[in-house]
């Protein structure tokens, strides 16, 4: 019973999460895309992980960085002073301002649904977060885009590759979530 109250309390904390309704958020993000396409280019995030990798590696081991044609091509001129990188830099800054304005910071390591299924061990959550993050960016670079570049920008341009990538992503994500969290959550 005590554990249940604890869960309820924390659930309350994460349920506070959406301040904006789905339609307001959706229209807002759609408008950001339209302005970006009108002024510069469609939005994208995952390429900048490669750019940051390239610039960091080039600072420490320039020879090694130059050996990868992919790094050389992506991190053009080994600089972070580009529109694309500053767009991605803006994401955490905007989120920081939003979280500050609505007092929604949290330093919880283990999210509720994860704890329901796998317990509250922070070590395992962090290890699997690393593995998951690795797969996310490996997959995104392999496919040439992520949720932003493929799903939002790509489908809005009716690009065939983006429809296929998004379908594969959702099917795989839904199956993985089914398998991963199958015993969790009996609140329905």
């Amino acid at each position: 019973m005590k554990i249940d109250t604890l869960h309820r309390h924390e659930a309350g904390h994460e349920d506070k999460n959406p301040v904006l309704s789905w339609w307001a958020g959706g229209i807002g993000i759609g408008l950001v895309l339209i302005v970006a396409v009108g002024l510069v280019q469609p939005i994208g995030v995952s390429t900048q992980y490669v750019v940051l990798d390239g610039v960091l590696l080039h600072n420490v081991l320039p020879d090694v960085a130059s050996r990868s044609s992919y790094l050389v091509k992506t991190a053009q001129g080994w600089t972070l002073a580009t529109y694309e990188f500053f767009f991605v830099l803006g994401i955490p800054l905007g989120a920081l301002v939003a979280a500050m304005a609505t007092a929604r910071f949290t330093t919880r390591i283990v999210p509720i649904e994860w704890r329901r299924r796998f317990g509250s061990n922070p070590g395992s959550r962090l290890v699997w977060s690393f593995v998951g993050g690795f797969l996310l960016l490996f997959g995104a670079r392999f496919g040439g885009g992520c949720t932003s570049g493929h799903m939002i920008s790509g489908i809005s341009q009716l690009a065939i590759s983006s429809f296929i990538f998004s379908a594969a992503l959702f099917i795989s994500g839904i199956i993985t979530a089914r398998v991963l969290y199958r015993d969790g959550g009996s609140r329905c």
């Binding site: 959706g26 500053f86 767009f87 803006g90 690393f130």
Partner: protein, 177 residues
């Protein structure tokens, strides 16, 4: 300089919207994939609906800076499957992980670190991947209207309306338990 400021402003708006609409929450994403809470699905449909109509309306007047990604059938499917597993494991995507970092979530910091490693490994594996997997079913940057041979607006307008309609019709919570 102006471009950097513009990037920061647009990215900032994007990040704030991601945070405020709950997309940087592990719970929201995982329950969307479990089909228990469809709020995120409704949001994505709305984004795509608005995006489809807006982008192609700009394009009608020659004002859109399009950038279409290449199609390589086998590689795209494998990549999407790998991405999906990471999406369900972390509850974040590359963009929302950054927003979640700013909220102070330690697992998001680790996700971003893992992401930087994954991107680096891919960068060094790329010549191999390109030679063996990207060559299969490679068609270049194709779009549906390009293939059919009509202007995109004729498809984007009805499809956009369908997306917005679906977004409003979809229930908030799914039937799956």
């Amino acid at each position: 300089m102006l471009m950097l400021a513009l990037g920061l402003a647009l990215g900032g708006a994007f990040g704030a919207l991601l945070q405020l609409s709950g997309t940087s929450s592990h719970t929201k994403i995982v329950n969307a994939l479990r089909l228990k809470d469809l709020t995120i699905m409704k949001l994505i449909l709305m984004v795509i609906g608005v995006g489809l109509m807006g982008v192609h309306l700009l394009d009608l007047f020659g004002l859109a800076n399009m950038k279409v990604k290449e199609l390589y059938l086998l590689g795209i499917v494998i990549a999407g499957v790998i991405f999906g597993v990471g999406f369900a494991l972390t509850g974040y995507c590359p963009g929302t992980a950054l927003a979640a970092c700013a909220e102070g979530k330690p697992d998001a910091w680790v996700t971003v670190t893992g992401g930087l490693c994954g991107a680096l490994v891919f960068a060094f594996l790329f010549p191999e991947v390109e030679e063996h997997l990207l060559a299969v079913g490679r068609y270049g940057p194709v779009t549906i209207p390009g293939l059919v041979g009509i202007h995109g607006i004729w498809l984007a307008a009805p499809l956009g309306i369908v997306c917005v309609w679906l977004a409003t019709r979809l229930p908030m919570s799914g039937g799956a338990r």
